[in-house]
């Protein structure tokens, strides 16, 4: 009788999902333009960069770490790839690969500092955040890079899906979430990542190379940030040295809203996507309602708390 419940996602994802649906229902009632496939596609497109950054952030938080450098690495990656493609005249694909390589290298450095010298992730990524920011400014002379080859914005262009235009980058985003979900839940390395975050010492004692897992996670997160650079460049059509400054907090917010614990080892990647969508829906819906910007901030503050509180209270009920 109770059997069908076991096909539901775990409670920790259900909560954020309900919050998201509640927010959607609210805005659908309050505004005319909210409830359309096209508007939803728009929101997806708006959260695509933060959503991708949040994949890397989730991986790191699941290992009980935190990454303050993600936004700056994204900015660095987009400057590197756009400058190489325009000023150095490299083939766009090569330039893009080098850009992703640069963020991956930075991620690897984060990982090496965390594993080899055993520095707290907060400090390491605070340091690389500053370093990446400075390099970005120096290398770009703080100038936006424009006139990109078309291949670099290809991911930002829409394809028609069931009559709705959807940016290619959104499909990349969804594909990566699916892939990471599979890797985390159905492969051995994914389970090791959870084990390391849940009880590092136990993972070490059972013979998991915790250092190697962490190193991989940070490097891979760097790669995801590089892909976020690709999407950011494709979306805005420029290489923007000012990008990424608010995305650190936004990505962490998406992870935590999605039900992942900052203490590591507990959380579901799909929750992060929902968390990112919650923020995007708030912003979109409040603008559609014509709420002025200060009040938007006020309402967002209240809603964030309400969303998680509703989740919390519903779980208490269920117990």
């Amino acid at each position: 009788m109770k059997d069908w419940t076991k096909h539901l996602p775990p409670m920790s994802t259900l909560g954020p999902l309900l919050a998201l649906l509640a927010a959607c229902a609210f805005f659908a009632l309050k505004t005319d333009n909210f409830l359309s496939a096209q508007n939803f596609s728009l929101v997806m497109q708006q959260v695509m960069v933060v959503g991708l950054l949040a994949i890397g952030q989730t991986l790191i938080i699941l290992t009980a770490g935190i990454d303050l450098s993600c936004g700056m690495l994204m900015a660095l990656g987009s400057i590197v790839m756009t400058k190489l493609a325009t000023e150095m005249g490299l083939h766009p694909l090569v330039a893009m690969a080098i850009g992703v390589g640069a963020t991956t290298a930075f991620g690897l450095v984060n990982g090496l500092l965390v594993t080899r010298i055993k520095l707290p992730p907060f400090i390491v990524t605070l340091g690389t955040m500053n370093i990446a920011f400075a390099i970005t400014q120096i290398y770009s002379e703080s100038q936006t890079v424009t006139d990109l080859p078309e291949a670099m914005t290809w991911l930002g262009d829409p394809v028609m899906l069931l009559g709705t235009p959807v940016a290619r980058g959104v499909l990349v985003l969804l594909g990566l979430y699916a892939a990471v979900w599979f890797a985390l839940t159905h492969t051995a390395p994914g389970r090791h990542l959870y084990a390391v975050g849940n009880n590092t010492e136990a993972a070490r004692l059972t013979g998991i190379s915790t250092q190697r897992v962490l190193l991989w996670v940070y490097a891979l997160a760097g790669t995801f940030y590089g892909i976020a650079s690709l999407l950011s460049v494709a979306r805005t059509g420029v290489g923007d040295p000012q990008a990424g400054q608010t995305e650190n907090l936004d990505s962490i917010t998406a992870v935590v809203l999605g039900g992942t614990s900052l203490f590591g080892g507990r959380g579901v990647i799909i929750g992060t996507l929902i968390g990112a969508l919650i923020v995007g829906v708030f912003r979109n819906g409040l603008t559609l309602m014509g709420v002025s910007s200060v009040y938007q901030i006020l309402v967002t503050g209240v809603l964030v708390i309400l969303a998680v509180a509703a989740d919390q209270l519903s779980q208490k009920q269920a117990r």
């Binding site: 492969t187 959870y194 136990a202 993972a203 070490r204 059972t206 013979g207 998991i208 507990r266």
Partner: protein, 268 residues
């Protein structure tokens, strides 16, 4: 069943000499020696804080001793982490169990050695075979006759004894060379404890030597071939349980009696 072979003539599998481990002002190991022979069950006993866990942590790569040497089949080995010990085929049940509390029983049993689905793609991606892991987990836990109602429960929701069974089942299932168990029956009930003893015998009968740390003297005397007495961070004596009484053993362990006061045949 219990092969009463004089194991003292068997070849030495695992050996350690002069192990020292200091933590700040506390000396956990103070020049400890150790010797495990092929096919034997070696009990390690001693007061609380005598350095038993520290000793086996050094033998299983969990800590790196400050001084001393560890030899496997006569060859010096240098273990930098538990991974090295696993490569040598040494499996360990740690006293604090080393489980990932938020993960399920099946996942904990196979942690670090997940069963991978057959097929090239699955092997490449290392896709785990959840179904087979669940089945095998049920089987292993049934071996210990512990009544666990759902195998997909997170380990943190288990009772103390159930949690210990998970750790024991894991070590017993995967050992290829040496099994080390640090107080595996401490939290177990009568029935479950006996099942673990039975399991240890089965492992020994497969030819693998077992190191058993226990405070339970009846258990020790029931099952051990030799008894290593640890005292104040050193090996105080190695006793033959067939030739020495429980009371004398406890006296040696607590320092009430010197080992040389025992008859020669009690030592081995």
């Amino acid at each position: 069943m219990h092969a009463a072979a004089p194991t003292s003539s068997n070849p030495v599998v695992l050996q350690a000499t002069g192990l020292v481990k200091r933590y700040g002002q506390v000396t956990a190991l103070d020049g400890a020696d150790f010797e495990l022979r092929a096919g034997e069950i070696l009990a390690v006993i001693g007061d609380n804080g005598a350095g038993k866990s520290s000793l086996i942590k050094a033998l299983s790569g969990a800590t790196i001793p400050d001084q001393g040497e560890i030899l496997m089949h006569g060859q010096a080995i240098h273990m930098k982490s538990p991974i090295d010990a696993r490569r040598q085929g040494i499996e360990t049940v740690y006293q604090d169990l080393a489980v990932a509390p938020a993960m399920t029983i099946a996942e904990n049993l196979f942690l670090g050695r997940e069963l991978i689905k057959p097929g090239f793609v699955s092997q490449m991606l290392r896709v785990i075979d959840k179904k087979r892991m669940l089945e095998e987990a049920i089987e292993r836990m049934n071996d210990l006759k512990v009544g666990i109602r759902s195998m997909t429960q997170a380990v943190e929701t288990l009772s103390g004894g159930q949690r210990q069974c998970v750790a024991v089942a894991r070590a017993a299932a995967f050992a290829r060379n040496v099994v080390i168990m640090d107080e595996p029956t401490a939290a177990l009930g009568v029935k479950e404890g006996n099942m673990v003893l039975e399991l240890i015998r089965r492992v020994r009968d497969k030819g693998l030597p077992v190191i058993l740390i226990s405070h339970n003297m009846p258990h020790v005397f029931e099952i051990a071939d030799r008894i290593h007495v640890q005292r104040l961070g050193k090996r105080a004596a190695v006793l033959n349980p067939k030739m020495v009484s429980m009371a004398d053993t406890v006296s040696v362990m607590t320092g009430a009696m010197r080992p040389d006061q025992l008859p020669a045949e009690a030592l081995c």
